[in-house]
Structures are given as C-alpha cells and as structure tokens.
Amino acid sequence: MTTGRPDVLEPGAVETARGWVPVCDYAALTPERGACVLVGPHQVALFRTFDGRVRAIGQLDPFSGAYVLSRGIVGSRGDRATVASPMHKQVFDLETGACLDDPRVRVPVYDARVRDGRVEVRVP
C-alpha cells in the first residue's frame, strides 16, 4: 500500500529552528474540520479537533491515491479522534495515523503545535 509522499516539489517554506514550520493562523482553521498546508514537498492535512488541539497527518488517501484527507468529516470512534476519507469513507485515527477499518494501513502523522496564535508543524 502506498503511504508516502511524492518527492516532486521544490522545498518552498521557510524552516525555523529545530524544524518547526509556521503554516497558518490558528483562527483560520474551522473547528472540527480539516485544511491542507504545503510544507516543502509534503502535503499535510491539519485538523482542529473539538478539544482545541491541532493534529496533522498526510494528505494522501492511500486507498484512492488522491490527496484529499483534509476534506473528510472529523469525528470520533470510541475515544479516538478521527477523520473519514471523503472518497470512500475509511476512518483514520488522527493520533496514530492508523486506519481503523483496515489494520494494514497507516498514514504518516506529523507534530503540530500552536504558538502565539500561529499553527506550526514539524515534518521529518
């Protein structure tokens, strides 16, 4: 299963100390909805969950091969915060990237934090 990132883009964004990249204002994120940011060559799906936190996973939906995960519906399964792929509804755990409908599949998870009203992500 393809989980990766196509290394086809020129790195574009400015990297700060220790790899944290500021990407957008926290206020630009709709509660319980996703948005996509470009960090270097990586498409990162950001989600502002109900607890106010920001979580980041890869934008590629490994099932359909399209870069769309940020456009899915955010919610919960049991006590896990989740997003469902907008293409064919497979559900992913926002904490671990694990697909809860198919244990063989996992999408990358990235570190994300909020500093002074700005969202920052760190992509290895």
């Binding site: 709709t30 399209a66 519906i73 919960s76």
Partner: protein, 818 residues
Amino acid sequence: MRRNLVVVGHGPAAHRLTELLVERGAGWAITVLGEEPRPAYDRVALTSYLTGTGADELTYPVPEGVELLLGDPVTEIGRAARTVTTRGGRTLPYDALVLATGSSPFVPPVPGAEHAFVYRTLDDLDAIRAASAGARTGVVVGGGLLGLEAADALRSLGLETHIVEVAPWLMPRQVDEGGGAVLRRHVEGLGLTVHTGVPLAAVEPGRVTLADGTAIDAGVVVFSAGVRPRDELARAAGLDVGERGGIVVDAGMRTSDPAIYAIGECALAGGTVYGLVAPCFAMAEVAADRLCGGTAEFAGADLSTRLKLLGVDVAQFGAASGPLDVTFMDPVGGVYKRLFVSDDAQTLLGGILVGDAGPYSALRPFVGRPLAGTPTELLFGGTAALGGDLPDDAQVCSCNNVTAGRVREAIAGEGLTDVPGIKACTRAGATCGSCVPMLKRLLASSGVALGKAMCEHFDHSRAELFDIIRVRGIRTFSELISAHGRGRGCDVCKPAVASILASLGAGHILDGEQAALQDTNDHFLANIQRNGTYSIVPRIPGGEITPEKLIVIGEVARDFGLYTKITGGQRIDLFGARVEQLPVIWKRLVDAGFESGHAYGKALRTVKSCVGSTWCRYGVQDSVGLAIALELRYRGLRAPHKLKSAVSGCARECAEARGKDFGIIATEGGWNLYVGGNGGFQPRHADLLAADLRMDELIRAIDRFLMFYIRTADRLQRTSAWLESLDGGLGYLREVIIDDSLGIGADLDAAMERHVGSYQDEWAATLADPDKLRRFVSFVNAPGTPDPTIAFETERDQIKPVLITEIGARGGLEVTRA
C-alpha cells in the same frame, strides 16, 4: 436418457412447476405449450396493467432450458401413444404430462352475452381498454372479489360504473350480511353504483337490462360471474372429471391416468376446485416433488383472501362461521370485524374484517390454534406482540406456503436483517405482500436489532432525530449530541443531522457550525472526483436551455479546460475543476444567469421533461412548463436521500416519470402523480398516488408527499424503499397525503412554504461571503498554489485524470512505497 415432460398451459401454476423442476435439476426435458401468445405472467396483478404496469413487468422470467411453444393450444391428448396434438398441427410425445390449463370465465347464458367482455387475460384487458376509450359508462356483472376489482378498473378508466350482483350482498362467498352492508357503503363511497339481489336479464349494445326491468346505460359490459375449470381436454381424453367440473386428482396431483397430472385451477383436489393462486402454487410444489420421485401430498389449502381494491380493506380467513363469535360493527366509521372461535372460546377458527384489515396478517397464522389473548384484544390492536409467539409450524405467508419456522431459520442461518432479504431467501412476502408486517415482527423477535440506532453516537433513527430537533427547536449539532448522543459524531450522523437542520430551514449549509458537518461535496458545493478535483453541473430546469446559455457553458468549459459530458439528467456536467477554480467558475455562470446545481447533497436533482404539448403532436399538457416550475419550487430541498422527478406530456412517457421519486404524467383531465419510483441499484416503477389532479391539487400533493418523506424516512432511504417499508403502504400514504388522515396536512404545507420562501442560491451566497470563500484553496499556507499532484492526459480530445500513484507505477514520477 432425458425423459420428456410436457406441460399444457402456461399460467402461474405451470410457471411455478417449471421453476421448481429446473431448480432441482430433475433431468426432465421440459416443453410447455401455451394458448396465450406470451409466457406466463402474474395474473393476480393483472389489473395493474390497466393502471400503467407493462406486460413485461408482469411476465415471469422463463427458467433456463424450458422450451416454450406459445400461441398454439393443445387440442387433443393421445393417451395410448402418449402424445399431445396442437391446433397448429404439432404432435409431441410425453413420458409425463401435466395439465395446467386454469379456468375460463363463466359467461351467463343471457341474450346478447356476445357483446360483453371477460376479465382474465392481458388480451381481455387490451380489448376492454380499447372499448372504454369511446365509452362513458360501464357495467360489471358479478360482485365478488374479481368483480369488484374489475369495477374499480373500469372506474379508473374513467367510466361511470355499475355493479350487478345476484346475491343479496357483495362478496357473498367471503363476507356475511353485516360485512356486506359495510362493504357496500365503501364501494358506493368510491362512486360505484351497486345493484344487489337482481339477476341480469339481457345485454344489448349500449345497455343492459336487469330481471326487475331496470335498464342501465353500458358502453362496456364485463362479466365477472365466476370461473369454470378448463377440463375439456381431460374430459375428451376420458380422464375422470368432477360432476361440476375439474380434473379429478389424488393427493399427489395424479389424474386417473398415472402418466398425467393436473395442477392449478383446472384440478379438483380433495373435492375442491381452488380459485386462488396460493393453492395453485402448492399443487405445483407437490407435482414437482412427485416428478422428482418424492412423496409430497397436497393437504388442502387456506382460502383466506384480502381484497386489493383501492381504498377498501376487506379480508376473510379461516372458517366463515363458528360456534361462538365476537362481532364489532361501526357503520359510521365503516368498520365491521367478526372473529369465529371454538365453543370454549380458546381456539381461533376464522374471521371477517371489513374497513380495517389491519389485524389480518397477525391473526391468520393463528387459525386452529389457541388464542393468545381475548378475542376483543385480538380485534383491536394487541396483535403487535403475536409475532414472537407464533409456533414454528404456523404459516406466515400463505401465497408461498412459508412457515414462521422457515423464516426464523433463514434469519438465523443466512444472517438476514431485512424484509427484502427474507423475500429473496424464502419467497415469503414476494406475492401479495400482506404478510410483510408479520415478517417484520419475526425479524424483531429474532433479535435482529432492526438497526434503529444511526451510529455509535446516537441511539435514535433519523426520523426520531428529526422530531427531536423539530420539537425541541435544536439549531446545532453540538447542542444535539450533548443532550441526545455521545462522542463527537462521524461521517454517518453529521451529514444526516446537517440534512435535517437544512430541511428545517437552518440557513446556508456552510453557516457557522453547520459547515463542519457537511460531506466534502456539500462542503465545497460540488462533486469530488477520483483525483480530488470537482465537477460542476449548472442547473438547467426541466432540461430547457437557450442557445446563448449553451454557448456560455461551452465557453466556461473551454476556458477552464474542463471535460464536458451530457448527463442522464438532462444537464451538462463539467469535470476537472480544482477547488480554487470553483468560485471563479460559479461567478462566470451566475453572471450569465445560471446557478450551479445539485449533483451532490441529498437534495432535488433534476426534474426531467419531455417536449410536451407545445411541440409534440401527442402532448396533452405543457410538460416542460410544469417541470421547470417544479424544479424551481423544490430546488435546494434537503431530504434523507436525493430526489428526482420528471414530467411527461402524455401516456407515452418519454420523460420516464415512473422511474422517479415523484413523476407526473399528463392526462386529458389534468395530471397523474406517481410516487416511489427509482432507477439505480434497485429499480422500481412509481405507483399512482392520485389521478387527474388540477395544478393546485398536484402541487399540494407533491408538497405533502415530500415533507412527509423528509420527516419520516430513514437516512439514505430513497422514496422507493421508504414507501415499501411504510406500514399500510400506498393506501396509507394516500390517506395521509390526500385525505389528511393524520391531520398534519396544514403543517406539511407550511413547512414547504417556508422552504420555497427561504430558498437561496447557495453558490451565489458563497461568492458574496469572503469568509466562506476562504476554504476554496488547495493549501491554506499557499493560496495561489494549485495542487501539484493533479494531472491529466488527453482522450478523445478532452482531459482525463491520472493519479500520481498511477504515474509512479508507470515509472514517470518517483513514489515512495511502504
């Protein structure tokens, strides 16, 4: 060596026999000789042919390997040589012969009888339809089950209709005098004129006379005065026949010649000729088993009946008399119920229900068994619990002879969870449908959680949530889930609640918290495609479009490089737009007088039209004008599933309205409204809800139909599945919508008025709101950058998506694999 089986007659009994033999792989070479020019069809549903069901739909599929020779009746059986000879001169040898010749209508020996029609075959109905076209009045001779059905059919063809019955009351074989009186009032209420207790004296062209001298105008006369078994071939071949007709058979369906069997309405089994389809099927089952070497026996059959007549509920089951009875009569409400019980009042023997046959399906299986409650309780509700108590050997579906045990076994063994599953697996419920409520109870009592809970976040069904939201005035998902659910929602409940909020008029679908509930399509007001781009389908109401607007669509598609295709919904779809292009494209369309349309969203899609009376030489009404008006009225209406409609300008039905959730067909007198149609996965033709409506009546009926559906249907349940699951079916729906039996009509009307009054163009409103526009970017940190993974190839001069992963597989780009 394959032995030859010849079957004479191709009706329901013959069909069932061949189907079973092929299923069992019995090793017979089967040839069926039929007199009618077409293969066997569902005669029970014959009348629906007059109200629009096609002959093809009624026709049973012919089992593989069965040879049919149609339109060529058998004229002689050569028992010594074991051959049959047809009118066309064919001679066929047989090792076993099955006579399934059915019955013919009895034609009373009165002068002028040759001017009358009978009501038995599709050809008969064609002839009646043709004669009715030029007539104003009709007379049906015979007030039994079939006579009433025929009278109702004449009425639906627009004839002023009379029924002549020689017995003192209608349906004398099924109901007693009290029931007959209540029934008569119902029938008269339908606009039919009833003459009882007088025999017919003569038929003349244009009128009939009764024995008491009454003359009735009659453009069309139909005899429905009983049937006679067609035993003429058997009789001529010297087989035993009954004194009053019918081919004598033993319990194994064998005639007095062991190589010849008889089944169905032509057979005299245990001294009875059965005139209902269920025993005919049972006989076919016995004969099939015998032909495979089995020892099945026909044990007689239930003569329960339920009248399918429009709007009148009549049922009779079990014995028609008994030592003790409980009778209830409400002449004002038009209800008559009577149960017969044993002298110790412990055992149910039978019953008659007129005006409210509700308890029928629950009571029928209890015939001959101890009562599960007092007779009065059984007559009035109290029957809901009976399903669980049914013993395994009680027959639930009499049409297909399926017991409660068989249904339970199928539910447990096959893991069935719904009625369609039971139908497919056991045939129960697949014929007249009257046992369906019982099947549901069996499902429930077998512990099948009838999936009421929408998902892990709510224990409620969609309809329940709708009521909670409406009654409590809830405006947000957070409010709802904190008070009535748990967790944070998911892709099942969030869009469903979004749709309910939208149906209740909660403003723009992207306002406030609602935005987070929407599926990606609703969130971006367009349909996502396999590569993450979107399609745009400009609304073209009724499919009518000016050349100027066509040019605009062409220009927009060209300027943005979009793939263009004519859809099956009379619109033009433009594919391949990236999220950031959507607003720019909408702007071009809005400026040219379009709005984008819903191909997403559980909302009205299109109202298709045919060209109608404006141009078409056959059109009787302006179908295009109506389609446009309807599309504009219901556009944007959010519902449990998508809604489709069409309007045809005459009965030729070029707009395929009967394949739609609500379809309208023009008549000389107005509009016929059909509901519950579906294409797609499980096609279903729509049912006639009301005929010859004026425009205002039509709009009101559609308003109520849609709002009632929106309030009560399940999540993602199209109107077709909703209608099939509605307890009481079409009759009940008609009562709610047309007669306002629940008293909610005004409320439904008001809800629709609110929708119409508050409609806004979602796309134009989005363009006018910078806040909403912010989401239309591929990357929030790089708004000008398009998604670099979106790529296209060219095919037939237009773009076609290629996924980056596919390019990788072809070695064009490097893709990391885990």
